[in-house]
Amino acid sequence: MFVCLVRDSLSPSRPGVLEAVARACSPRVEPHGQDVVVCDARGLTRVIGMPAVIAEEMRRMAWEREVGVRVAIAESKTAAWLLAHARPGTTIVPAGEEARRLERLPLSALRSLPELRTAGLRTADCGPAFAKATAGKLRTDDTLAIFERWGLATLGDLARLPRADVLTRTGRVGQRLHQAACGEDDAPLVPTDETPRFVERMELEWPVEGLEPLSFVLARVCDGLSASLARADRGAVTITTRLQLVTKTTHERTLTLPSPMRDSKTLRTLILLDLESHPAPAGIDVVEVECGVTPGRIVQGSLLAFTVPTPENLSTLLARLSALVGDTSVGAPVVVDTHNPRISSMKPFALSTQHAALRTAPSTGHRAPAFAKASAGKPSTTIRRFRPAPPVRVRVEKGRPVKVSLNERAAYRDSRVATVTTAAGPWRTSGHWWSSDGHTWDRDEWDVALDTGVVYRLARNRQTDHWEVEGEVD
């Protein structure tokens, strides 16, 4: 026996209400969005009462939550679904009378079926007459149109046709519609588990001010959360901290973690570090911490790969570094897709669990020192880039720089006039000439070696004829 609850069209939609009502009565619930819920009612007669009592109880519970519902109880899920969608109020179908109760419903009632409304069937599921005409599209409307052209008006008319003939002419879509008209299911109820919330709340007897007393409160809250996460084999990916203040306002902070974790000390440290940089403006009355979670997973490490920081250590480290130098100064460097070499960017640092090195582990235990191996390669052309590029005075003869006068800001080690021993260039670069947002650049770049031994990359602004130091080749 199945119960289908459908939100009344005149009632406002309230997320989760119908599911909560169904879960209050039955352990096996199959929610379909926010407005329809199907649940298994077998055995409820011993707990709640007769089907009429069950229906009335559910309507009452929904009404208490300010939602009006239609209720249908039938032996099949499909019959309950169709009747709940087609008829207002409460409909109770005795066992074996599904087809008789459905026979007066119009054919258009079949459009509400979930498997035909959302998932749909493919071309191969349809009859040969439609395969060519509407390849790849849903066939429900077409099939119903065919039924109407055959002169069928109600589900009873459809149910009286031989199913084998319907299958031959309209394919599996028609067969499923015929099944539904007879009140038969083609799939069992698929119950889903209730989504648990991982939230801990503590109301304080006295308001606390400052991070030190708050840390003790957070320790207790995070211990409870960590235990809940461990029991459910979940890891926190976001932490939302809500602090109700004595001013009757709420101070809310949300942290996104780079990887799932459930270590109590780490969670507490992260919250405290965040509150250190974003403190609550008044005393705290209530502390509430909620975690957004993801399923736990088992990661296989490698004995041959480098040790990498654990997610907990990495999160704590990033939080501490962010508190020290700022959020925008910690991360992983990114090569920006532009021809302007001065633009650099960074993204949040996150370690992937798999790395190419793990797949190509060294065959022997001995490894040469990293520096010795790397330095044996080709010459280095790494740039130490000056931000912003400092101005420099350059003397040019025959179109080539011959003397460079560096000021202290450009390079404190060479604050004097130096002679250019070797110069290569110019390498012309320009861009954003089509926009007027001030990001236009048009430069000639030179690589110059000075008599001091330093190699600089200089740039001449072609619009202003000013020279700047791009960086030092290192």
Binding site: N313, L321, M346, G377, K378, R409, Y412, D474
Partner: protein
Amino acid sequence: MATMAAVTRQGGVVAWVDVADRFDPASASAAGVDLDRVLWVRGPNVSWSPSQRTVGDLAVQRGLRAFDLIARAGGIAVVAMDVADVPVRHLQSLPAATWFRLGHVLEGRDTVGLLVGAQPLGRSAGGVSLTLRARSEWAGRSLQSRRLAGLAVTPEASQRIRRVRGHRKEEAPCLFALSATL
């Protein structure tokens, strides 16, 4: 940079404490560094002029604090602090125990500490100082076709002291100071 490339290619994580904000991602990527495995801590964009000495000192202090935090976190293969463009007056104002303290943090860990400076830094008893001598190499025979091929770097160990513990000889702590002499 070559060290970073070698370590990140093998799957290690490198932290680069960039006190003077000199790191260039594009050229680092071209040098073979896996940027996804580089933790870049950028320093503030300050002028290193003598008139703003306090700001410079603060930037160096923050860099040292960041180095300390990263070294203590564990799991980072190489922690490098680049102070090559920081004027000497800011480094000389640091307490003498600063470098010993950093070396002590690294002791017993699998993390290599790198100090990149214009002159030898952190002369601890167990540290190693390498002087990098660079020579520019150019390609192309004519003025028009000439281009910079790169710098040929020659490392030279200027200080390498080992200490003996029991019957086992080991290098500790693993704190390198690279000084670029160009």
